[in-house]
Symmetry: C2
Amino acid sequence: MDKFFEDLKVGEVYESVTETLSQDDIIGFAKQFDPQPMHTDPEGAKNSLFGQLVGSGWQSLSSTIRLLVEAKPFGETPLIGVNVDNVRFWKPLLPGATLQAFMEIEELVPSSKPERGYVLVKVTTKADGEVIVTQNWRMLIPTKSHLKK
Amino acid sequence: MDKFFEDLKVGEVYESVTETLSQDDIIGFAKQFDPQPMHTDPEGAKNSLFGQLVGSGWQSLSSTIRLLVEAKPFGETPLIGVNVDNVRFWKPLLPGATLQAFMEIEELVPSSKPERGYVLVKVTTKADGEVIVTQNWRMLIPTKSHLKK
């Protein structure tokens, strides 16, 4: 069912399917977006802070948005982010990790514009069951009254 | 020159080269990471909030990290982000936009661990000269004393 601002409830949690990222996936992403030896070169990565190849934090974030988009938490109503806050990388993304993303509604904020509201969510990404990234999103979502126009 | 914590100064600004993203680039990224009609379907996007195809905000962010990694602001010393805060999407990413990223050192924070310090930067991404995204990064950077071990 397509959801609108009036349909959402604080405390609701949406969860995604899982996705496993191979070493090739990690190197492929990094070559495109974060070409540093710790992310692209298994040998060179041994001399890095991490002591082994790790995925870019931006890959953890990009996988998270895809997993949550595909979960369609609001049906065909799109996820439109306006702010991202408090991104914390708790653990590195390791080759072979199986990711899953969770989105919990923390606050609903009406707007002075009657056609929209804001939904504040906490997003948690786990790898093999352990939290690797948390963040907060502020998203814009249309109201049902908008549809009646 | 490879830079360490002691080499950095508040107020220093690093700038990247530019990169132009075509409509195909925007659709390609979105199919991988943010498959929503406003990002993948020029016709469907006309019915979205934006009234036209726009790039995913996560593409603006992913392009920003690549542009700044390639600028090598600290030489061969890697960019290791630990926090990302205050991501604000000021304008949508439009097909054909030419992006450039800027990183300004705002604060240098010594650590109780002598081998590292933290550098707080403001990151600004412009498209055709107009600011489209701003964010703050907290990065870890090794100290020179670490090298003497």
